[in-house]
């Protein structure tokens, strides 16, 4: 008979005590800061960006994306332009020096960032959507859900690198192979998380209440289950962005990434590692950008997580 939740707002219980009832309306300004109103999912995500962490993540991401998008404007020469000397140290003309073919490392780093962002910003959302749908498939029929989970378990059984190598064997190296590797590697995480959410939401009393009323199954899914499952999935997507960056880098380091002469951060680290003693800036440049990217997404997922669980 005790209640776990403190009840903000109206202190009266609907019975005729008008004098107190309206004190509730004076509370909201304060109440809102503590407990975001239920419906505004977007406003809650927006509130995540207003925290210091979220703000830092947003600024960093906007900056990185802007640089990547504007690369052809900033460096109209493209990433293939060769200068006279190969493996030159940093200088006024080439801030990070030149690579083994005399190409500017800074330019290639920026274009590499462009490749990486184009990969993860498409592959992770695709993985999120497919994984969520697979996870929720148990809503259609119980056996289907069970079978899907076993398939996801099998995917989970393969280390990311082995998975990538298998995909490369089938479709060859290149952007598409990396894209597929990231999508598939993400499925088990999203799928299991969505299923966990589905199973707990299905037992919620408000879902049962809708069932008892005779609300259509599809409506129950869209209205009551999905909105409550989405929060952790978005946080997971943000975490997985970082993982995706390292999948790209990992596959590129073993030579299964982007086809040369196209630059990617991972491919550059792969080659640069050979010259790490003579030309440290070859790895420092792409490495630093990689870290900034990972930092941005880590901060973002932290901020989203705090906003989603603060209820």
């Amino acid at each position: 008979m005790t209640k776990a939740l403190p009840v903000p707002g109206s202190p009266s219980d609907g019975a005729p005590v008008p004098a107190v009832e309206d004190t509730a309306q004076q509370v909201p300004p304060a109440g809102r800061s503590r407990r975001p109103r239920g419906g505004g999912a977007w406003s809650r995500y927006a509130s995540a960006l207003r925290t210091p962490k979220g703000m830092a993540a947003a600024v960093l991401l906007v900056l990185l994306v802007a640089v990547a998008v504007l690369a052809p404007v900033i460096f109209p020469g493209g990433y293939d332009q060769q200068a006279r000397g190969a493996l030159q140290g940093p200088s006024g003309g080439h801030w990070l020096g030149t690579d083994e073919f005399g190409r500017d490392i800074l330019v290639r780093t920026v274009y590499g960032l462009r490749t990486d962002l184009s990969l993860i910003l498409t592959a992770v959302p695709v993985s999120l959507v497919i994984g969520t749908l697979l996870g929720l498939s148990g809503y259609l029929s119980k056996p289907l859900g069970a079978v899907t989970q076993r398939i996801l378990d099998i995917i989970l059984g393969f280390p990311g690198l082995i998975l990538g190598i298998m995909i490369v064997l089938v479709i060859g190296t290149g952007w598409l192979a990396l894209f597929m590797a990231i999508v598939i590697a993400g499925l088990p995480g999203f799928g299991r998380m969505a299923r966990g959410g589905l199973l707990s939401e299905q037992q919620r009393e408000y879902v049962l209440a809708a069932r008892v009323l005779g609300v259509k199954r599809s409506t129950i899914m869209v209205r009551h289950i999905l909105p409550n499952v989405v929060d952790p999935l978005l946080v997971q997507a943000s975490v997985f962005m970082v993982v995706a960056i390292f999948i790209e880098a990992g596959l590129s380091i073993v030579g299964l990434g982007i086809n040369p002469p196209n630059p990617s951060l991972g491919a550059m680290l792969n080659v640069g590692a050979r010259y790490v003693q003579s030309l440290p800036s070859y790895v420092i440049g792409p490495g630093a950008v990689l870290l900034l990217l990972a930092l941005a997404f880590t901060l973002l997922s932290d901020a989203l997580n705090q906003a989603a669980t603060r209820r």
Binding site: P6, G38, A210
Partner: protein, 706 residues
């Protein structure tokens, strides 16, 4: 006892001032075990300082049981935690003193305090599940409490054995090395009490020790606490919301409301001549076994308990008080002594001798009975297997019949009360009726349509709706009240443009206002949410409501409001109710007929009058006897305290399901082998109801008022 009561009142008036601290030692009473004065605990939040405990004073003598009673948000639990200095930030103890045997605990160092906790003052928590460590055996957990205070391991284990025996755990030798999950809820609470008793404390703080337990188990634990006091002379501070528990157990009572002590005194004075309108009304509003409001609605207190973050000015109870005058809203009343020795109350009105008139109850609305009652719901031989979807891909699980062959009928305008303890299958039965669970065998007939499989679902939904127990979980926190109601109206086929008017009408019907429509559930109190839940069920225009413990999650002062609402809805709309509860007193007021359920089967069924006045099944008799009665005159009545726990429905006992706990069965009379061999059928008895007992009527309600 009387001599020291006078001394209690002299210390009572000391305020939370520096002066009080200075003079405190001089005025200390050596007889007092615990003396709390002017205690104030506050929480710093974003909205400012919330005073959860405000100027609280009381005292406990050795061997005394003090009840601190209050509703949610009254500050009773924070008071207990403050005594042990276990208030976590942002909470802090801002003022006052807590004298234990003359020493102010608030001035002790952290190490001394830690030494005192457990050794001198021990605490028993509400939920035995989370109070025990699941990866340690109970023996080790009790021993740990001793080793911490310097006993050697061997002696500690010996003492653990002794303690488990003391709290009534059978077969101690074997159970010492069991893990908490191997114990039932009631047994776990005994273990928690054993841990608390380990170092022979002089004071036990029990925070709602029986709230999570069933009535028959509650009776066992209360009896145990009483025995401990008698045998070991331990003083107990019992924190509870249940006036019935207070009346049964306590010597002195402290009534808290809005963070303040509002009334304090010996238990019989508080119950027989309360000087605070809140206490008087709360006692009148409690659902009772001997319902006195025949043909009238229950006396109810309007409004709901205040939010501690948003207390009204003046007397915290003033907005809900029917006797309030101007001064009540301006000035906080002082706790002043009253005529009876040891009794004090904080009320501006009664302090000048004004008497509290009895709560007026309205005549219940006339019942519309459209001709003769039509049967709305007929259930025949229903069995429900709750284990059918727990298996994997390749494994078929053993069936577990949570409901095992029950039959019942509910007619329009009628309330059938269904009573049973947790795990007896009452919720499973209710959920099967509305199609959440699937029946394994038997039929459910709604109106004249048999519901079978998936086809008949819509017919059921049009006529049967469900009201959930927990008003916090049954509304989607992301949807406004209007959205929740619209959903239900849409299913009924109400056109979009008529829904607004329809939703307003529904809210008005359940006693809420239009302006509540666009708020989210978080903005409502528990009672208001339950009203919304009822409105949503009504939106489908049902003929029958299945009410699954609709008031048991609510504060006592709110329960009567909801019961009255349900009563008037039934009478105005000619609804049929299946009202489920774990406690016989709650269903008493509304029910025309009552069914008692035990371990998946009905043990007694009949007119409410007959069942309450002359229970024929020993289980019904025990349930009636176990319900705490909020009347001190009843405390010496003869009680039937059932031993043991509810067996698992996975493996029900052969023959009569109740025989493992039955006070007249083969446990006591070895010659009654029929109980082991044959399940008793539900057959008519001499007093007009049905009972499933081979020896029906042998044990009637002992010592109960007529």
């Amino acid at each position: 006892m009387n001599s020291s009561q006078n001394q209690t009142t002299t210390t009572a008036r000391t305020g939370a001032t520096a002066a009080a601290v200075a003079t405190g030692t001089a005025g200390a009473d050596p007889d007092l075990l615990l003396d709390v004065r002017g205690l104030r605990t506050q929480f710093r939040t974003h909205e400012g300082v919330v005073r959860a405990v405000n100027d609280v004073s009381f005292s406990v003598r050795p061997g005394q049981i003090l009840g601190i009673v209050g509703e949610s948000g009254s500050g009773k639990s924070v008071t207990a935690r403050s005594i042990l200095r276990m208030v976590r930030p942002p909470g802090e103890i801002a003022a006052g003193e807590v004298r234990y045997r003359g020493t102010d605990l608030l001035t002790l160092g952290e190490k001394e305090m830690r030494d005192l906790r457990g050794r001198e003052i021990a605490m028993v928590f509400q939920d035995p599940q989370s109070a025990l460590n699941p990866v340690m055996t109970v023996g080790d957990q009790i021993a740990e409490a001793l080793v911490v205070h310097g006993t050697d391991k061997k002696a500690a284990r010996e003492r653990a054995r002794e303690l488990l025996g003391q709290v009534g755990i059978p077969d101690v030798e074997r159970r010492l090395d069991d893990y908490p999950h191997q114990f039932s809820g009631g047994m776990r609470q005994r273990v928690v009490i054993a841990v608390a008793l380990a170092s022979k404390p002089s004071l036990l703080l029990a925070d709602e020790p029986t709230t999570a337990l069933d009535v028959t188990i509650q009776a066992q634990i209360l009896r145990l606490l009483g025995q401990l006091r008698d045998e070991l002379g331990i003083a107990v501070v019992m924190i509870t919301h249940d006036m019935g528990v207070v009346a049964e157990m306590c010597d002195e009572v402290v009534v808290m409301y809005g963070g303040r002590v509002m009334e304090r005194g010996p238990v019989d004075v508080i119950f027989n001549s309360p000087q605070l309108p809140y206490t008087a009304d709360l006692l009148a509003a409690m659902p009772r076994l001997d319902d006195i409001a025949e043909g009238r609605s229950l006396p109810a207190i309007p409004g709901s308990p205040p939010d501690p973050a948003n207390l009204p000015p003046g007397c915290p109870f003033q907005p809900r008080c029917r006797m309030a005058v101007d001064i009540c809203a301006q000035q906080v009343p002082d706790l002043l002594p009253r005529a009876e020795p040891g009794h004090s109350a904080a009320c501006h009105v009664t302090q000048h001798g004004e008497r509290i008139p009895p709560l007026v109850t309205e005549a219940a609305s006339a019942r519309v009975r459209s001709g003769e009652a039509r049967p709305l719901l007929q259930i025949t031989d229903l069995r429900v297997d709750v284990n059918n979807d727990s298996g994997g891909l390749f494994r078929r699980p053993d069936p577990v019949y949570a409901v095992d062959g029950v039959s019942l009928t509910v007619s329009s305008g009628e309330t059938l009360g269904l009573v049973g303890e947790s795990g007896c299958g009452k919720s499973t039965l209710a959920r099967t009726i509305v199609g959440i669970n699937q029946p394994a065998s038997g039929t459910i007939q709604v109106g004249d349509q048999v519901v079978g499989g998936k086809s008949g679902g819509d017919a059921v939904r049009r006529t049967v709706q469900y009201v959930f127990q927990d008003p916090y979980a049954s509304l989607n926190p992301r949807r406004t009240i209007r959205q929740s109601l619209d959903e239900a109206l849409a299913v009924r086929g109400v056109p979009t443009r008529e829904r607004d008017a329809e939703a307003r009408a529904l809210l008005a019907r359940v006693g809420l206002a239009d302006r509540h429509l666009d708020r989210y559930p978080q903005a409502f109190s528990g009672g208001q949410r339950q009203r919304v839940g009822i409105a949503r069920a009504l939106a489908a225009d049902p003929k029958l409501l299945v009410l699954d413990e609709p008031v048991s999650a609510l504060d006592v002062s709110i329960q009567a409001q909801i019961i009255n609402l349900l009563e008037s809805l039934r009478d105005e709309l000619d609804l049929g109710y299946l009202f489920i509860a774990h406690d016989l007193s709650v269903v008493r007021h509304l029910s025309d007929r009552v069914v008692v359920m035990y371990l998946g089967a009905f043990v007694e069924m009949g007119d409410a009058e007959a069942v309450y006045n002359s229970p024929q099944h020993p289980y019904t008799a025990a349930l009636l006897a176990s319900s705490p009665i909020p009347d001190t005159a009843e405390r010496n009545r003869e009680r039937i305290v059932l031993g043991g726990d509810l067996p698992s429905p996975k493996n029900p006992p052969s023959g009569c399901r109740f025989r493992t706990r039955c006070p007249i069965g083969p446990l006591v009379h070895a010659d009654r082998t029929i109980c082991i061999e044959q399940p008793p059928p539900l057959v008519p008895t001499g007093t007009g109801q049905l009972a499933a007992c081979h020896f029906a009527g042998e044990l009637s309600r002992a010592g109960a008022p007529a």
